[in-house]
Structure formats: structure tokens, C-alpha cells
């Protein structure tokens, strides 16, 4: 009789997860494309002009999803790194390494689209308020994770050290999220929260949520592509990896 624990760890083997990821990637790319098209239609065409900001506010449909994904991907990265530390599994740490560049680019995108939005509305490319500063710190945390991993030659030691660093840095994510509540910031407060009705117009909200789902699907697809490459690279001494590389 097959022990129950096998079911949980069934895909913890790279040889099993590799084909699964390969089957999932087109679905996630497709979902990202469809949801992205729908979200851009909702946001750029259907959503009304803002009373105060005119058309300039429409960058919200890229800025907010990118910022949300920068935090979500960091939490996912730290979670996988934690799983890798606790269970000593190679694939979990590979997933964390695969998520890091995606999260860093989402953070970079959020910072840049924020600057492009801030110039016409606030009059400044950058202000040193709590939310912008903590988002910039998130970018530094991603870069720190990637550079620590890159500077350790033994890949398992690198996984564990970078994983510990990711877990230490996870305290920054609630700070970013709550910064607009804890400090007097120029950045707008939370229009969408878990505890009360959204204060943003429904077509804009719909567009933003659909774009957020599109970004989420895109991030998953890209992370799966990257983790497949990492799997082949790290497990290249195994038979399944050589077979896969030969047949590709």
C-alpha cells in the first residue's frame, strides 16, 4: 500500500515536476494573454476618465498589479525558501531562485511606472515617503538575495543561506503594505482592502483586478520556465536530465 506521505511529495522530484511544469506553462501564458487583453480593454477603453487626474491615472492598470506582484512574489519566494530549509528539498530552493528575478523586475516596473505617474500628478519623479522607500528596499532585498546566491560556489549552501536571508527580509512586506496607514505619506492610501468596500469606481476596479490576475498568471508562467531551466542545469548529472536535453 502506498504511504500517504508520497502524495504530498510526489512532485518534489525534479524528474516529475519538469514535465508537469512543461504542461502548465502554455496554460498560464494563455491565461496571462487573455486576461491581459481583457484587463487592458476594461482599463483603457471602458473605464471612465478620472475626475481629478484625467487620463494619466490609467497607468494604474500596470502600476498596481506590478506592485501587488512584487510583494506576492517575495512572499512566495520566502515561503519556498522556508520549505527548502525545513524539508531540505532541492526543488523548493530552485523555485525560490526562479522567482527572484521575476519579483525584482515586478518591483522595478512598479517603481518606474510609479515615477511616470508621479511626475504629472505630484510634480516629482520621486519622493522619499514611506511606501516608495520601502518598495525600493524590497528591490534591494531581491538584489541581495540574488547576489548572495551567486557569490557562494556550493549551490546547496547558497540555497540555504539565501533562503535564510529571504526569510529575514520578509518583514519588509507588511511594512510596505501598511506604510500608507502608519505614516503620513504622499502615496495614496488603500482603496482596496479586505475589510471594507472599495472606494474606487467599479470599471476601474474590475480592470485593475483583471490585470492583477493577468500579471499573476504571467509571473507563474515565467517562474515555471525559469525553474525548468534551473532543473536541467542543476540535475544535469542525472539520467532524466540528460535524456531530456538530448531529446529537446
Amino acid at each position: 500500500m502506498r504511504p500517504a506521505v508520497n502524495n504530498w511529495f510526489h512532485f518534489a522530484a525534479a524528474s516529475r515536476f519538469y514535465p508537469l511544469a512543461g504542461r502548465l506553462i502554455p496554460w498560464f501564458y494563455g491565461a496571462a494573454a487573455l486576461l491581459g487583453a481583457l484587463g487592458l480593454y476594461l482599463g483603457l477603453w471602458l473605464a471612465p476618465t478620472d475626475a481629478q487626474q484625467g487620463e494619466a491615472y490609467r497607468i494604474i492598470f500596470v502600476h498596481v498589479p506590478a506592485a501587488w506582484m512584487s510583494m506576492v512574489v517575495y512572499l512566495a519566494m520566502a515561503a519556498w525558501a522556508g520549505v527548502g530549509l525545513v524539508f531540505n528539498s532541492r526543488l523548493s530552493s530552485m523555485m525560490a531562485c526562479a522567482l527572484a528575478p521575476t519579483g525584482a523586475s515586478m518591483t522595478f516596473l512598479a517603481l518606474w511606472t510609479g515615477a511616470l505617474w508621479g511626475k504629472p500628478t505630484w510634480g516629482a519623479w520621486w519622493v522619499w515617503d514611506a511606501r516608495l522607500t520601502s518598495e525600493l528596499l524590497l528591490l534591494f532585498l531581491y538584489i541581495g538575495f540574488m547576489s548572495l546566491h551567486a557569490s557562494i560556489d556550493d549551490v546547496r549552501r547558497a540555497d540555504r543561506a539565501a533562503g535564510l536571508l529571504a526569510l529575514v527580509g520578509v518583514v519588509n512586506v507588511p511594512i510596505i503594505y501598511f506604510s500608507v496607514k502608519w505614516w503620513n505619506t504622499l502615496h495614496q492610501g488603500a482603496s482596496v482592502s479586505f475589510t471594507k468596500a472599495p472606494s474606487i469606481a467599479t470599471p476601474m476596479l474590475m480592470g485593475m483586478l483583471v490585470m492583477a490576475l493577468a500579471f499573476w498568471a504571467y509571473c507563474i508562467a515565467v517562474a515555471l520556465v525559469r525553474v525548468r531551466a534551473l532543473m536541467l542545469e542543476r540535475e544535469q548529472h542525472t539520467a532524466w536530465a540528460r535524456e531530456t536535453a538530448r531529446s529537446a
Partner: protein
């Protein structure tokens, strides 16, 4: 025949040295080593003084500007010189094998690490806090503002040592050296910088300093509770 377990073979023995004695031993040893290698200790302090002196040279000697800049400049320089001196924390012990003996000790590694960090702080952060009044004179800070600066440094530099020890433990023996350590630790140290410099700026603006100092104290307590455990985990990862 039942397998013989180790506990059946020998009676349980308590370690010959108590935890407090072990931590005190490591603390005194590291202090003594720092006192013998005065060049290393003083080099970080001279770096601190030099960096603080560079800012007026670069920005201009206008005294109102300097008085506004002073808390931030002193705090950034304290941050940077702490980062420089942190590579020394575990490097020497790693090279001669003492660090591995610490890992093998019967006492919890977190407490032993706390002893090392405390000794390191006395040789870096404490000295910076004591030297800061002289630098405050260069920036024409009032004596009361200078006192607030010293207090914020006394509260904040232990947090820098604790956070930096995490970075030092993660990077022990690596090529990247102090640059990598700074890259890892500086984002985590930003709240300390903000509240430390903010305390003096709040004083200069006539606002209360209790909020900033309370938050610095809270960061210190949090770091004291959490950092030694993380340092111990990082050392075990680094020395496998």
C-alpha cells in the same frame, strides 16, 4: 539482542561550564583580542571620522546647511563603518577553526554568538557613539542635540551590530567580502537610520524625541530576541 543506545551506556553529564560562564568567556576573549589588535578597531573609527569630515568638504561649509545635515551624515557614516568592521566578526575564528568548535559546543550557539556580538559592539558601535560629540562640534550642533545624537547612537548601533552579524554569518569565508555584507545588511538597517537620525532632526525642529527613541528601543529589543537565533542558523549553514 536490543540495540544499545548511547544514553544507556553513559550517564547524562551537564557541561562543565555554565552557560553564563561560557558567554562571559567568549565576550572577554573577543574584547581582549580587540584590545590587542588596536589597529583594526581604530581603523573603523578613523574611517567614521573621515567620512563625516568628507561631507562638509563636498557640500560646502555653510553652517545652517551643516546643522541640518549633521544627524543624517553622522548616522550614515556610523552605518558604513559598522559594515566595514563586521567582516572581522567571524572571519578570524573561521580561519583558525575556533568557529567550528563553537558550533560543537554543548551550549546554544545563539548565546555564544550574542557574546561575540556584544564584544564586537563594544569595539565598534560604542566607540562611535563616544566619538560622535567631537564630530557634532564640526557641524555646530547644540550640546543638547549632540546628547540626543549620542543617545540615538547608543540605542541604534547595537541593532546595527546584531543585524550585521546576520550578514557576517551568512557571508563568512566568501569572496564578496564587506561589499556583499553591506549589500545584504543595509536594506535591513534602514529603519534604524531613519529613526536614529530622525530623533535628532525632531529635536532640532522642537518636536518630541520620545517616539523615535521608543521605536529605536523596540528595534533593539526585537533584534536582541531574534538576531542571535538567526545568526546561529546562518553559522550552521555556512559551516556545514
Amino acid at each position: 539482542m536490543s540495540p544499545v543506545t548511547p544514553s544507556a551506556m553513559a550517564p547524562a553529564m551537564s557541561p562543565p561550564v555554565s552557560l553564563l560562564a561560557a558567554v562571559r568567556c567568549i565576550f572577554v576573549r573577543d574584547l581582549r583580542l580587540a584590545l590587542r589588535r588596536q589597529a583594526d578597531t581604530l581603523a573603523a573609527m578613523v574611517f567614521f571620522v573621515m567620512v563625516v569630515s568628507l561631507f562638509p568638504l563636498g557640500i560646502g561649509p555653510e553652517s545652517a546647511l551643516l546643522r541640518t545635515m549633521a544627524p543624517g551624515v553622522v548616522w550614515v557614516a556610523a552605518l558604513l563603518s559598522s559594515m566595514l568592521s563586521l567582516t572581522r566578526l567571524f572571519a578570524d575564528d573561521h580561519q583558525d577553526g575556533t568557529l567550528e568548535q563553537l558550533l560543537l559546543s554543548a551550549h546554544p550557539l545563539a548565546f555564544l554568538a550574542l557574546g561575540k556580538i556584544a564584544a564586537h559592539w563594544m569595539g565598534s558601535g560604542l566607540l562611535l557613539a563616544l566619538v560622535a560629540p567631537l564630530l557634532a562640534l564640526q557641524f555646530d550642533l547644540t550640546p543638547a542635540a549632540c546628547g540626543v545624537l549620542v543617545l540615538s547612537l547608543l540605542l541604534g548601533t547595537p541593532v546595527l551590530s546584531l543585524l550585521g552579524a546576520i550578514g557576517a554569518a551568512l557571508t563568512v569565508g566568501l569572496r564578496g567580502g564587506s561589499v556583499l555584507l553591506s549589500l545584504l545588511v543595509l536594506p535591513l538597517a534602514v529603519p534604524v537610520l531613519v529613526f536614529g537620525a530622525g530623533a535628532v532632526e525632531a529635536y532640532n525642529a522642537g518636536l518630541g524625541i520620545s517616539a523615535h527613541l521608543s521605536l529605536l528601543g523596540a528595534l533593539l529589543v526585537l533584534a536582541l530576541a531574534a538576531a542571535p537565533v538567526v545568526v546561529a542558523a546562518a553559522l550552521r549553514i555556512a559551516l556545514e
